[in-house]
């Protein structure tokens, strides 16, 4: 078991957010969390990486209790995050952003080697390597976010709505890359999505979230047939 959340409760001030969330992710596993706006999906990610602390329940990563750890220690354990929007450093170059992804790698040459591999997957980023991240297009930013996460050499990547705000063609491109990561790099994925169709193409199983709780879960096929998913997230 890679990541385990057991009965996690969080709140923002007085407002309850997560209400007894339990889930597990295994090594090399790909799962998604489907839910509408305000369901608590992003809070879930923030809780996993320790920005929001639960007041009840616990999180463990590879058997270690990570609930009390500060964010940077959790990240060091091998979790990377691809944030939804403002997750890059817009004033820094693409190169700097990539370097920050692997902040804990001290070996410059090993890093350069890994960067070469990552840039082979994202040739567009190589062209823009010395440009400021803020000057990239929406799709390129998303790619940079993913590239940065891979560079950290994690066992688990958390993705916050990778399809949000992208043109359909770009969504396909992003998901193509995600599929590649899953198959080639054997990195476990937890994808938060509203675009259930795309997410279910990639993942093995998923959870449905509503008002801070998990209201259903199942394998990809089970979810595709699920009535809630069909009516709320698979409108085509």
């Amino acid at each position: 078991m890679l990541l385990e959340l057991s009965d996690v409760y969080t709140k923002y001030g007085q407002i309850p957010m997560l209400q007894g969330v339990s889930m597990t992710i295994d090594a090399g596993d790909a799962a998604c969390v489907l839910g509408s706006n305000g369901a608590g999906k992003t809070t879930l990610l923030k809780t996993i990486i320790g920005i929001v602390k639960p007041f009840q329940g616990s999180l463990s990563y590879r058997g270690e209790n990570i609930t009390p750890l500060p964010s940077h220690k959790i990240i060091q354990r091998g979790i990377a995050i691809v944030p939804e929007r403002e997750g890059l450093f817009p004033g820094l170059s693409v190169d700097d952003n990539l370097r920050l992804g692997a902040y804990y790698e001290k070996d410059k040459y090993a890093l350069a080697q890994r960067k070469e591999e990552v840039l082979a997957i994202f040739p567009r980023l190589r062209e823009r390597i010395s440009q400021q991240a803020g000057t990239l297009s929406g799709g390129e930013r998303k790619m940079l976010g993913i590239a940065r996460a891979i560079l950290a050499n994690p066992q688990l990547i958390l993705m916050d709505e990778p399809s949000l705000g992208l043109a359909p063609a770009l969504v396909n491109e992003v998901y193509g890359v995600i599929k590649k990561i899953k198959e080639e790099k054997k990195i476990a994925l937890l994808i938060i999505e509203q675009n259930a169709q795309k997410a279910l193409d990639v993942v093995d199983r998923g959870y449905i979230m509503q008002k801070g709780s998990i209201i259903g879960s199942g394998s990809r096929d089970e979810l595709s047939e699920n009535e809630i998913v069909k009516s709320s997230y698979l409108v085509s």
Binding site: G91, D96, K108
Partner: protein
């Protein structure tokens, strides 16, 4: 290659060294000349940089300097050695150069907070003062050597930097700046009201540094001409300045420097990349304060008298202007900014009471024309992996 091309190529190779020589010549003219010559040099420099940037020459200049680093450095050192002689051994001119060097060191330290981390610290003069007072107390009250005073100043400012940095862990932006203004005020009040620290009268009779049994405050003779003692301090100050510029540049291209930039951009995102915010932030304040401490110690043992007015809020503002004018997060830019502003400040003495007014006007004009500072931040370079 035609003969003409070989010739241009040779000139290109010499350009970095030539640039250093021109800069020192300009500096000498600025120090010895009138206010107008100083202003013309400032305008010329700004114009040259704007023109150069438009035509991509600034980037090429950086590359050329990097290619010929050792020869450029040699020329730079020769220029520093010759500086006192170019300044005609005039003790007032030499004094300006020493002060420029000391202030540049403070500005370099302040740059770690303002330039790298985007946290506007309004208390650099207080930290400069902590260094000066520590060094003065250790030597005057305890009778230790000024070198011990310098080390004590470094240790105390490193600790005080952490104290001053603590608010930065909890506050951001304007709120943090407000806290540092309070700290600056506390420092002044504390010194004025503490008899043991000399109170409003300051501390007189601070001994000078000595090297090999020779006091640096002794004027010497060279080839039959008297050499003012300020020359010794020019060498001491500029040696330290050079060393600290190298350290600053190293820090800029290190992981720490990158982490500082990341914090400036977005703290939360920085922490999601695995950066330990507490450690990295406190490091910025601590290292920056050590720089100010070194400068403070130099100042105390150079002027042999320190008073609380040397470290007041106005001084802090001037240090901030040096970083802004020189160019944030670029050690060379900050050094040039600090040197230029120190010289201009001295030249403005002819305006007597209107000095600060003129100073402000010059600053406003330069920053409106070139808002990013003379030499802005540069992109970092990373080693390349093997192409496959």
């Amino acid at each position: 290659m035609t003969e003409n091309k070989i010739y241009t190529h040779k000139i290109e190779k010499l350009l970095p060294s030539l640039g250093v020589v021109v800069f020192f010549a300009a500096l000498a003219v600025a120090i010895t000349g009138s206010l107008w010559s100083t202003l013309i040099i400032l305008i010329g420099m700004t114009g040259l940089l704007i023109y150069g940037e438009k035509h991509g020459q600034v980037d090429r200049a950086y590359i050329r300097v990097e290619e010929r680093r050792s020869s450029t450095l040699t020329v730079l050192i020769i220029c520093i050695v010759l500086l006192p002689f170019i300044l005609k051994g005039n003790s007032y001119f030499l004094h300006i150069a020493v002060m420029a060097g000391i202030y540049a060191i403070v500005a370099l330290g302040l740059n770690f907070q303002i330039g790298s981390m985007g946290q506007v610290n309004f208390a650099p003069a207080a930290m400069f003062g902590v260094g000066a007072y520590t060094s003065a107390m250790v030597t005057v009250r305890l009778g230790a050597s000024p070198w011990i005073g310098l080390i004590a100043a470094m240790i105390v400012t490193a600790g005080m930097g952490i104290v001053f940095g603590f608010p930065a862990l909890k506050t951001r932006g304007f709120y943090f700046s407000l806290v540092t203004i309070a700290l600056q005020t506390i420092f002044i009040l504390l010194v004025v009201n503490t008899e043991w620290l000399g109170g409003p009268n300051g501390i007189p009779g601070i001994p000078a540094f000595s090297l090999f049994g020779q006091s640096l405050k002794k004027s010497g003779m060279l080839l039959g001409t008297p050499i003012p003692y300020q020359m010794n301090y020019i060498y001491l100050t500029f040696t330290l300045l050079l060393l600290l510029i190298v350290i600053s540049k190293r820090l800029y291209s290190s992981r720490i420097g990158l982490a500082w930039n990341a914090i400036e951009e977005d703290e939360i995102v920085a922490s999601t990349q695995g950066i330990n915010l507490t450690k990295v932030k406190l490091l910025s304040f601590s290292i920056g304060s050590v720089f100010a401490g070194i400068a403070g110690s130099l100042y105390a043992h150079y002027t042999s008298f320190i008073g609380v007015e040397d470290f007041d809020f106005n001084k802090s503002l001037i240090f901030i202007c040096m970083v802004l004018l020189g160019g944030m997060d670029n050690p060379i830019g900050v050094t040039i900014g600090a040197i230029m502003l120190t010289v201009i400040d001295e030249k403005l003495r002819i305006f007597a009471d209107y000095r600060m007014l003129m100073y402000s006007i010059i600053l406003i004009v330069v920053l409106v024309v070139r808002s990013q500072g003379l030499l802005p931040k540069r992109n970092r370079k990373y080693p390349l992996g093997e192409e496959n």
